[in-house]
């Protein structure tokens, strides 16, 4: 799927809003899942990520004076990949994952978002869209640095982190 090019500031902000919404939903889903599997530390981390992304949602709504989300374009937002750039793919989590893994996923998501807005800024055909994309790119760059700083405070997992003494697999 090719990234669609928003022509107006409203289109651009609607796309940014949808991207943040998707990220909130996915982080919340991950937090719920990790709670169910009693991985409380990672659940709390995903919950925090969802909280940060929801702040961006509120920020965009306030900035645009929107009471609710604008309807999506009929042909979708045209993300460069299968989902929005800031959405962590569903299959990249593991029930034994540790905060370091979760932060790696968040880092990759922020980097994708930064690159996405950078591309939009380069391709923009309207000055307001270009400026808004540059602003978003700067914000995402800040987030990348924040996650990197966070990662430094978290221990790297052992090589056998995924070893489960009571695995789900049939083992005779």
């Amino acid at each position: 799927m090719k990234a669609s090019l928003p022509r107006t500031l409203v289109d651009f902000m609607a796309q940014a809003l949808a991207m943040e919404r998707e990220a909130v939903a996915r982080y919340t889903e991950f937090a719920d899942t990790m709670e169910v599997h009693n991985n409380q530390e990672v659940a709390a981390l995903f919950r925090t990520m969802a909280h940060y992304e929801s702040k961006h949602v509120e920020q965009i709504l306030a900035q645009m004076g929107w009471a609710s989300d604008p309807p999506p374009p009929e042909d979708g937002f045209g993300w460069p990949d299968l989902e929005g750039p800031e959405t962590v793919p569903i299959d990249e989590v593991h029930y034994l994952m540790q905060p370091w893994h979760a932060l790696q996923l968040a880092l990759a998501a922020e980097q994708r978002a930064e690159a996405f807005f950078g591309r939009l800024a380069q391709m923009a055909t309207s000055e307001p869209v270009r400026l808004a994309a540059l602003e978003m790119q700067d914000e995402e760059r800040e987030h990348v640095e924040l996650v990197r700083a966070w990662l430094k405070k978290v221990p790297e997992p052992d090589k056998d982190w995924a070893n489960d003494p009571d695995p789900p697999h049939y083992t005779d």
Binding site: M34, H94, M97, P168, H169
Partner: protein
Amino acid sequence: MNDVSAPLAVLTAANYKSGTKPVWCPGCGDFTVLGAITKALASLQLPPHEVAVVSGIGCSSRIPAYTTCYGFHGVHGRALAAGTGLKVARPDLTVLVTGGDGDGYSIGGNHFMHACRRNVDLTYIVMDNHVYGMTKGQASPTTEPDWDNKLSPGGTGIRSFHPLVIALAAGASFVARAFSGDPNSTAEIIAKGIRHPGFAFIEILSPCVTFRPEQRDWKNHVHAAAVDTTDDAARAARRIMTDDGFNIGVLYAGQRKAYAAPRSPAIRTVGELAAEFEL
């Protein structure tokens, strides 16, 4: 008196998700299928109380509990029988039947064929991961014959079931394939299936990251169907038989009229009903 209508509340995907948290393994494709179902229902603005989600047994069959729609978590393999009965009795409801490949193609295989043949207006969503996940990883009807594991050393050696072609041959009037890793296009396909008048069969490739971790690679293989939807069953069958199994989209949408139950006679008295059963 002026007609002052309150604005209708817009339903979002969140309105269709219940407070019950899924117990699926982290990473399971069924999470995004649930998300796609809720997005599809929101796109159609169907009130949750006008939708029924019916399932059988298995990991994916837990879905009814995770929605705010009416739900029926039924007997293994019998989801289509229950769903068909419900739709015939209550044609005003939107009926979604959900389940996995084992439930739908093995235990419920015969119901699957006859549901296609009857062409009742419902949507059948199968989350296919080519394995029995809930019972710890046995080969299912869609498992590759050479899938080697401890329960079937060297593989079963048995040819895989081809659900899309079977559905076409049996008379399904809508046949589609989707991928759980692409929830937005999956939601569009589900919405099309719901709108289609007749039996809509949607096979969703939904990786089992616990027992088939290699299925994570599916995202590198799926691709949008390069041709438009056809209403020619023979053409669709040729395409499906020769594709690579990762062709995503609505592959067939036929014109066959959906089954309509004969109108019930007016409600009768208990005495009249009892008279019918008198020996």
